[in-house]
Symmetry: C2
Subunit: 317 residues, 2 copies
């Protein structure tokens, strides 16, 4: 099966939008950005065995490849619009591509994202996606924007995906609820949009809470103090691991794709009502301090705590 048949297969299933003037099937796509919007562009690659276990279902790989990019757009408060997909496959496997598209397009449909181009190539399994979003020029969120005294918040729960990965690595029984969080992360698009104009700084938690909050602190030249026992955990995570392991997975694990953001104390009510409106839970986990790029953790009793390995600074994510 030549490349063009795979592209035709993708083309046949890709939806379009009115602002796509030219989609799949030419040298490039032509897209119309409204005059009152800025363009937001994120690009992330998933490599087999590095970003997902080799036994991951094609549909889950498809979902995740788009989800990690939409999560980046969410962290900027952007509304997703279009994406391009570059798929490297060892063999031109039509059944694999069909499965991949099931997951990829399910998420694309959910967010009304049009797949407008890209390519298919021969090579080790690798998926590169570029996601394009639109944002109100006054409303974009950035890492630089945390102020001393701000609250630190996080959406959803932390540590589930890292817990699933640990169970997978151990090779024993695993919890399907945790595995679903690893394979099918939820990009917090509505929450990101709701935070525009309220939050100060925002980032998506992909490398682990401490590493990603570290990026916010570095960009904003501030520090943070966190209550490790306030970090939101799912019941599944608490059931599967002891308290210390839960803390490590939550603070230093990766692949959560929740939003971590800062906001002044005066914004608490506005925040809670904005996030309630889009049905996304959020938890206050600490506050921003003046000591640049120092993140301190304490437990519910006020005792200092730190994970065995600070952050999760890995080549490969």
């Amino acid at each position: 099966m030549p490349e063009f048949d795979l592209i035709a297969r993708i083309h046949a299933r890709a939806a379009t939008r009115r602002d796509v003037l030219l989609g799949i099937g030419d040298d490039a796509a032509i897209l119309r950005v409204p005059p009152d919007r800025d363009l937001v562009v994120a690009m992330d690659t998933l490599n087999s065995g590095v970003h997902f276990p080799e036994d991951t279902a094609p549909a889950d790989i498809g979902w995740k490849a788009l989800a990690v990019n939409l999560s980046d757009l969410a962290a900027m408060a952007a509304t997703p619009a279009w994406c391009t997909l570059s798929l490297s496959l060892p063999q031109p496997d039509a059944a694999w591509v069909d499965g991949f598209l099931d997951g990829f397009l399910a998420l694309a449909t959910q967010h009304e994202v049009a797949l407008v181009g890209g390519d298919t190539t021969r090579g080790p399994l690798s998926i590169c996606v570029t996601a394009h979003g639109l944002v109100d020029p006054r409303g974009a969120l950035r890492r630089k924007g945390a102020r001393v005294g701000d609250d630190v918040w996080v959406t959803g729960t932390l540590g589930d995906a890292a817990g699933a990965l640990r169970q997978w690595q151990a090779g024993g029984a695993f919890d399907p609820a945790l595995r679903a969080r690893l394979d099918r992360p939820t990009p917090r698009v509505a929450a990101g949009r709701a935070l525009a104009g309220i939050a100060g700084a925002c980032i998506d938690v992909s490398d682990g809470l401490l590493a990603d909050l570290g990026h916010v602190c570095r960009a904003s030249r501030v520090g943070a103090v966190l209550d490790v026992d306030a970090l939101p955990a799912s019941d599944a995570l608490r059931c599967a691991f002891d308290r210390e392991t839960v803390r490590v997975l939550q603070s230093a694990g990766g692949d959560d794709y929740e939003l971590c953001f800062t906001a002044p104390k005066t914004a608490r009510l506005a925040l809670e009502s904005a996030l309630f409106a889009c049905d996304v839970p959020a938890t206050r986990i600490g506050r921003i301090t003046a000591e640049a790029v120092v993140i301190q953790l304490h437990d519910a009793d006020g005792a200092a705590w730190s994970p065995p390995r600070r952050g999760y600074e890995h080549f490969g994510s």
Copy 2:
């Protein structure tokens, strides 16, 4: 060396532009599209051993990774503006990245393209680039736009890169002029822009003339007849191969990154003067016919000719 150091290394060397509101260093880039322009997006991946010989210099890989994308923008008559880069490397090799950037950024500078984001990941050597361009909504060129009776044109010379690949595969002596055409293709950006409003259809020749002109014919529901002896060849190609091989390399080889376009006969003077102004040679090689998707070739004596393998329809480019 962790991922962030590689990104810092890239960030330190990447130029910016006034329309880049936020570049490398956040979850996504924020870009401003002028209200009178449409956005043009192309995405192409190069995998080691598939799209370039393993012994290719990092700087040449960098150049080519951007060039093949700018070539796609050129074929739409777009002006390049921004790009994102996803780099998968087996090891976080700083010297390799420095070399890669030498080539990548040399071409980016030439075309005033700002590198605004992307990622670095661990994996088999693979480079994915998304290029963004801007186009006058009335001036974009497409594959669909060839009319019966139109002339078929091509810029520059054909077959050089395929000739270099053949020499490399043979493992013997090679011509550096040909190899330079394989490693450092010239995206015909100025020519593409000059063709806006004059040409009917346009495509860049990446998979080989017959395959790519086939795409134009399919999109436009037309055919073509070409004079194989009119195909422009470099002296280096003519010196390195016999006449029959030259014909095959020119018609069925790939990686030329010249523009193949159609235009009415009445536009000949306008075309020649527009291309002369940007110093790009172009050659008339045939005409568009009514017989859909049939491309016939003849030689200078009018005898039918066809390559041993029609086109170059491969999974992997």
